[in-house]
Symmetry: C2
Subunit: 715 residues, 2 copies
C-alpha cells in the first residue's frame, strides 16, 4: 500500500500536475485526450513509441502533439524513439526513403493531404503518418488523434484525406484596443500591448486547435481596420504571432485600411491608380515580408459601412484590389477583397447591391485576388438563401465568408450549432449548371480555380473556454472541418466533435448531437421564421426589435425587411418588387420567384403575402408563424430536459455552465416569441389562435427594453 | 508493473485530472498546495481526517479548503470524518462544547481571530482550528495551510492571530462595460452581462484567495461610478456575487454616484439636505438590503476630478457623507468617503487641498462614516511622504487607501513589490504623540476607534494569472496581510508569499525575496528619485513625460511637480513656498521643513534646491540623481541575473513570463533613465559626470514617443 501511494504521489509530482484537480473548464477544447472507456486499451496494452526520422519544426510539433494525445489516451507516458519497433507511430513525409519504399498512394494527397495507415516496416507493425509535406503529416497526426478520440484504436488504421479548399482562414474582428467587434467571449486573445515580447502560451494552443481542424490562415485584425496595424511596431507584433503559428502550418494575414497611405504614409490620396499610392503599398508589402516571409496577404473591406475604398476616387473595386495584389504578388501573397458593400445612398434593395456592383467586375481581377462573399445577401441572418454571387462570377475565385460568432443567433449564450446552416448554404444548387452547388463554386471544382478559400469570422476571445460556452466551440470546429471539405456532413462533424469534447459514449453523443442538429432551426423559429430577417434590436443586435422604423437609413430598420402591414408581410423581391430574385441563375430564380415553389422557409424573404395565405400544412400564414415561434421555444425547453438527463455523464463545470446558458436561452426565446407576436398583432390586428399562450407583457414593455452595455459593439 | 500503472491511471482518472499535465499558469496564486520536499511528510505518514462537528456554510468551505490543501500537501486523498481520532483536524467555533471544555484562551480573539493548536481530545492528538465565529475558524484554516505551505508541519501547531483592522477591503475600479480603470491584467473579472445567471467558478476562487489573506470586503465598481450600478438589474447582479462571497466572510460594497437621485431617481437635485434626496437614498438602501442583507455600504468619490458631490450644492463633504450614512445606518451599513479631492480652480498646491478641505470637518461625521485617505497627498507615486491627514483628524476613523495596481510603478510588467512602500507609510511617525505611527491611526489604537479600515485598489483582472504577472500577485497578498496587521513586516510577508507561490526551498525563497525587497526602490530610482513625483506621461501615466508643461490645468503637468530650471529643481513646500509642510504635526513638519534634516529620499518633494547642492555622499545633487537613475537600471539588470539563475528551480511557464517581463522592465528602466537625463540636461545645461553613459537618443526622440493604446485608460 505504501509503495503504490508513493508511486502515485511521485507520478503526480513528476508530471507537475497541480495537486488540486482541475475542473473541466473547456480550455482544452476538443483536444482533451482523456482515457476513455470506449477505447479498448490497445494503446495501453502495447508499448507505443513515436519515431520521427527527419525532424522539421512542424514534424516536431506533430510528434509532440501525438505524444501528448497518446499519453492521454493511454493514461501513461509515451516515449519518442530513434528507430521503429513494433507498435511505433512513425511521422515522415512521403519523400522520406522509409516511406517511399512502401509505394503508397501519396501522389493524390497534393500538398496538404495525409495518409495514416497501419504498415509493416522491417517486419514490425507500425502506424505510419505521412503526406507530401510536413504540414500534411501534421494534419495526419491530428487525424489519428481524432480517430482515437472518437472511439477508434491503433489497430488497422487507414485514414486519408486531402483538403478541397486551399485557404481555410479565420477572420478576427479584433480591434487594436483589445475589444472584439461582435465578440462575445471576452477581449481579443491578442495582447497587442505586450507583443512582441510576451508570447502567451495561449497563442500556441490557438495554433494547435486550428491545425487540428485544418485551418491554415488567420486574419489578425478587424476588417474595420486601423491603419496603425500596418506600422512598424504592429508589424513586429504580427511577426511574433506568425513565428509561433508557422510550424503549425498557419499563415498570418492582415486587414488593410485602404486609406493607410494618407493616414500613415503622408500621401494626399489613396487613389489606387496613383503611382505614388501603388509604390507606397509595394514598399509596405516589402516591409511586411521582411518581417514575415510567408505573410499571407491582405483582407480588405472597402467602401462599405463607412470604410474608405477605391470608389472614393471613382475607381472600381477591381482597381483597388489589383493595386494591392500587385504589391504582394512578388512575395506570392494574395488579396481577399470583400463583396459586402451597400451604398449610403442607394435606394435599391440592399440584398441586390453586392451583386450589382461585383458581377460586372468578373474577369477583371488579378490572378492573386479572391472576392470574399458572405453566405447570404444581407448579413449573417439565422437563415438566408445563398448569395446570388455564387455561380455568377465564374472567372473569379470566391471565398465563402461564414460568421462563426453568433451576432444574430443569440450571442454566446444561445446553443445554436451552425453546421446545418453552413451545410444548407454549401449544398444549395446554384442553377448555373446541372448539379452545381455553392460548394462546387467555393472549392473551385466548378470552374477549375486553383486558388480557393473559405473564411470564418471567429468566435474566439480570452474567455477561459475560448468561445463563451462549451457548445460554441463546435462552431469553430465545424467551420474548420467544412473548410477542409465543403461537402462534409454537419451531423457527422457534430458526432466527432461531441465524442472528443465529452466522451465517445453513445449515451452522451447521441443526445448531444440530437440537441445540436435542431438548434439552429430553433433560433430561426423563435427569431425570424419563414424567411423573415434582420428583426434584431439596433446596433448590438441583441433581442427583438421588429418595430424599429425610425433610423436614418432605410435598410437599418427591421421594418424595411419585414414590410408588415394589416394585410400581409414579407419583402417582395420578385418582378413586382425589387426583383432581386433575378440575380439568381434562371432555374433557381424561377423557383424562388414563384410563391408556389419557393421553399416555405424562404417565403417572406422573396414574397409579400397575406396573413391568411394557406400554407402547405393547411394553416394560415399567421397560424403557421405562431406555430414556428412556439416550436422554437419548445425546442429550447426540450434541450434543457435532454441536458438535465445528461447530468450524471458530464463533468460538473461544463454541465453547469451549459445548463445556465440553456435557461437564459429559454427565457430569451420566450422574449423573442412574445415580443414578436405582440408586435405582429399590433400590425395585423389579429388574435392568437385558440389555446396559444398570450405574450407575457404588452408591446410597450418590450419596446422599452434597453441594453446600452450589450457586448460586441462596433469599435 | 502493470498493477501500479493501472493504479496510477485510475488515480489520475478518478481525480478527473486532465490527462495533459497543466502548466503552472499562475491561476492557483499562493494556494498551490503542492507536495513539497521541505515538508518532512507528517501529513502523508499519518492518516489525516477532517472533522466539523457543527457545520455552517463557512465551516463547510473551511473544511473543503483544508481537504484540498492537505490532499495537495499529502499528495493523496484526505477524508472528512464524523468524529475525531488521532491525526484529525477539527474545525469548530470556540463555543462548541468540545472546544469550550479545553479552556483555551479564545476570548481575546474577538470576532475574527483564530487559534490553531495541537490538543488532545478524548485521548487523541488532534489539530484544533477554532475562533469565536465561523469566520475566525475559516481564517484559522487558511493560517494552518499557510503554515504548511511555508515549511511547517502538523506536529505541535500553535498559531494565533486577531486582525487589527476591521474593514479590509479591495476597491475595484471596474467599469460596467468590462474595462478596468488603471487595470493592467485584462478585463474586469465581473461578467456583468451574464450576471446574475452565470456564476463563473472564478468568483469562488477570488473569494478563496481573499479569505486566505483576511480580506473581508470588496467594492465591486469604480469610484468613478455610474448610477446604473444602483438600478434593480445591477443590484441583482451584485447580489449574486454577494451570495457567492458571503460564506467566505466577504461583504459586498458599491461605489455610489452622488448624482444618482437625478440620473436614475427622476429628482431635480442631489442636494444632501433636500429631504426628497435623503428619502430616495433611504429607499435605495432598503432596496439593496432586501437583495443583500449583509451589504457593506457605500464608497464615494465626490467633488473630485469631475465627479458630482455635495459641494455642487454648497454643502460640505460631511453633509453628503452623513446623509448616505443615515440611509444605511438602520442596516448597520457604513460609508467610506474619499478625501482625494482637488479643485478645478484652486491655485493652491495640490498636495495641500485634501487636508485643507477635510481637516476642519473632523468631528462632524456620523458614527458610521470613515474617511478614506490615499497614502500620500498627491496620487500613488512610487514614493510619497505619508498623507498629513493621518493624525490630523483624531475624531474620524481614517481608512488607508493603497493602490495595489501599479498605475505609476510600471503597470503590470515591472516587478515592484509594494510591501516596503506600504510598510514605509504605515511605520511613519505622525508626530502627533510620541511613538504614534500612521499604523496606529489606521488600526484605531491611536484614538480608540472601533471602526477601522484599509482599502487597496485591486490589480485583479481576467488574465489567467489574475494580476498580469506572477510577482504582481505578491502585491495583492501583502495588501491583505498588512490590512490584517498594519505592523507586519514586508520582508516576512514576502517570504511566506514566495514559499507558497514557488516552494519553501530557501534556495528559491532567499533570492526571490532579495529581488522583491529592493524592487520598489529601484522603480523610485529610475522614475522619480530623491522626492520627485508625477513625471509620467499624460493620461495613461506610461513612460516618462517630465517635459510636459502645456496641459490646461497646472497640476496636470509634470513641470508643476518638479519645477526644474537652470539653477535647481524641486517643489518648495516650506514656508517660502506652498508651506504644505505645515500640515504635518510640529515635530514632523520641522524635520521635513529643514533642508538639513529632511530625508534625502523626500528632498525634492519639500524643497527646491540647487543642482550643485552637496548631498550626504559628498556628491552634488545632479551627480546623486544620475547615480540613482543608474542604480535603478542596474538593480533591474541584477534581478534578471538572479532570475536566470533560478531557471532550474522554477516551473517553465512562470519562469518564462517573468523573464520576459524583466527584459521589458530593463528596457523601460533604461528608457526612463535616458529620457529623464536628456530632459534634465536640456534644463540645467550640465554634462553627465565622467564615465556615465549618455542617453541612447536625443530628447526629441523621447518626446515623440506616443502610446495611444496604453492600457488602463479612464472609462
Amino acid at each position: 500500500m505504501m509503495r503504490w501511494k508513493a508511486l502515485i504521489s511521485a507520478a503526480l509530482a513528476s508530471a507537475s500536475l497541480p495537486a488540486v484537480a482541475m475542473a473541466e473548464d473547456g480550455y482544452a477544447l476538443w483536444m482533451r485526450y482523456q482515457p476513455q472507456a470506449a477505447i479498448p486499451g490497445e494503446v495501453v496494452r502495447q508499448p507505443v513509441s513515436i519515431v520521427v526520422p527527419n525532424a522539421t519544426p512542424t514534424l516536431t510539433r506533430a510528434a509532440e502533439e501525438l505524444r501528448r494525445g497518446l499519453s492521454g489516451y493511454a493514461a501513461g507516458p509515451v516515449a519518442t524513439a530513434p528507430a521503429v519497433r513494433a507498435g511505433s507511430v512513425m511521422l515522415a513525409v512521403a519523400g522520406d526513403p522509409a516511406v517511399a519504399s512502401l509505394h503508397l498512394p501519396t501522389r493524390s494527397l497534393t500538398d496538404e493531404g495525409y495518409l495514416v495507415r497501419s504498415v509493416t516496416i522491417g517486419g514490425a507493425p507500425v502506424t505510419l503518418v505521412t503526406g507530401n509535406s510536413d504540414r500534411g503529416v501534421l494534419y495526419g497526426a491530428f487525424a489519428l488523434l481524432r480517430h482515437l478520440g472518437t472511439g477508434g484504436t491503433l489497430a488497422k488504421v487507414d485514414l486519408t484525406s486531402t483538403p478541397k479548399v486551399k485557404l481555410r482562414v479565420l477572420n478576427h474582428w479584433d480591434n487594436l484596443d483589445g475589444s472584439v467587434e461582435r465578440g462575445y467571449a471576452g477581449q481579443s486573445i491578442w495582447d497587442w500591448w505586450n507583443l512582441p515580447d510576451l508570447k502567451d502560451p495561449r497563442y500556441t494552443d490557438y495554433a494547435r486547435a486550428n491545425a487540428s481542424i485544418g485551418i491554415n490562415g488567420t486574419v489578425l485584425n478587424n476588417v474595420n481596420a486601423k491603419a496603425d496595424s500596418l506600422t512598424a511596431p504592429y508589424i513586429a507584433k504580427a511577426a511574433a504571432l506568425a513565428d509561433i503559428f508557422r510550424p503549425w502550418g498557419i499563415k498570418v494575414y492582415l486587414s488593410a485600411r485602404f486609406s493607410a497611405p494618407i493616414e500613415i504614409g503622408g500621401l494626399k490620396t489613396a487613389d489606387p491608380l496613383d503611382p505614388q499610392v501603388a509604390a507606397w503599398w509595394k514598399a509596405k508589402a516589402d516591409e511586411i515580408y521582411r518581417a514575415i516571409p510567408d505573410f499571407g496577404g491582405f483582407l480588405v473591406k472597402a467602401n462599405s459601412e463607412g470604410q474608405p475604398g477605391p470608389r472614393d476616387y471613382h475607381r472600381s473595386h477591381a482597381d483597388g484590389a489589383n493595386m494591392l495584389a500587385a504589391a504582394v504578388a512578388p512575395h506570392k501573397g494574395i488579396v481577399m477583397w470583400r463583396a459586402f458593400v451597400y451604398a449610403d445612398t442607394d435606394p435599391d434593395d440592399r440584398a441586390k447591391q453586392a451583386y450589382t456592383e461585383f458581377k460586372p467586375l468578373d474577369g477583371t481581377f488579378a490572378d492573386n485576388v479572391l472576392v470574399q462573399v458572405k453566405n447570404g445577401a444581407i448579413d449573417f441572418q439565422p437563415r438566408e438563401p445563398f448569395h446570388p454571387l455564387f455561380g455568377a462570377m465564374p472567372k473569379t475565385p470566391l471565398v465563402m465568408e461564414f460568421q462563426i460568432t453568433k451576432e444574430y443567433l443569440g450571442f454566446a449564450s444561445h446553443l445554436a450549432y451552425l453546421g446545418p446552416l453552413f451545410q444548407e448554404v454549401l449544398d444549395a444548387p446554384t442553377g448555373v449548371k446541372r448539379g452545381q452547388t455553392v460548394a462546387d463554386v467555393v472549392d473551385g471544382s466548378a470552374e477549375g480555380h486553383r486558388l480557393t478559400g473559405m473564411a470564418g469570422v471567429a468566435n474566439i476571445g480570452r474567455d477561459r473556454d475560448w468561445t463563451g460556452s462549451p457548445f460554441n466551440q463546435a462552431n469553430w470546429y465545424v467551420f474548420g472541418r467544412m473548410a477542409w471539405d465543403p461537402e462534409a456532413d454537419a451531423d457527422t462533424i457534430a458526432r466527432e466533435w461531441a465524442a472528443q469534447t465529452f466522451t465517445p459514449d453513445p449515451a452522451v453523443v447521441d443526445p448531444v448531437v440530437a440537441m445540436m442538429m435542431g438548434s439552429r432551426e430553433a433560433v430561426v423559429d423563435y427569431m425570424t421564421p419563414l424567411g423573415l430577417a434582420h428583426l434584431m434590436a439596433t446596433g448590438h443586435h441583441y433581442g427583438p426589435g421588429p418595430w424599429v422604423s425610425d433610423l436614418a437609413r432605410p435598410e437599418w430598420n427591421p421594418a424595411y425587411y419585414h414590410r408588415a402591414d394589416k394585410q400581409g408581410i414579407g419583402f417582395d423581391r420578385t418582378r413586382s418588387g425589387s426583383n432581386a430574385v433575378a440575380q439568381y441563375a434562371p432555374p433557381v430564380a424561377k423557383r424562388f420567384a414563384d410563391v408556389g415553389t419557393v421553399p416555405e422557409r424562404d417565403l417572406l424573404w422573396f414574397h409579400h403575402v397575406g396573413w391568411d395565405r394557406r400554407m402547405a400544412s393547411g394553416r394560415t400564414l399567421w397560424e403557421e408563424m405562431v406555430r414556428h415561434y412556439d416550436a422554437g421555444v419548445g425546442y429550447v425547453a426540450g434541450m434543457r430536459q435532454q441536458w438535465d438527463a445528461l447530468r450524471p455523464r458530464i463533468d460538473a463545470e461544463r454541465w453547469e455552465k451549459t445548463a445556465t446558458l440553456l435557461a437564459i436561452q429559454e427565457r430569451e426565446a420566450r422574449w423573442w416569441r412574445d415580443a414578436s407576436l405582440a408586435y405582429w398583432m399590433s400590425v395585423n390586428g389579429r388574435a392568437l389562435p385558440a389555446g396559444v399562450r398570450a405574450p407575457e407583457h404588452d408591446l410597450a414593455w418590450y419596446k422599452a427594453q434597453n441594453f446600452p452595455r450589450a457586448p460586441g459593439h462596433t469599435g
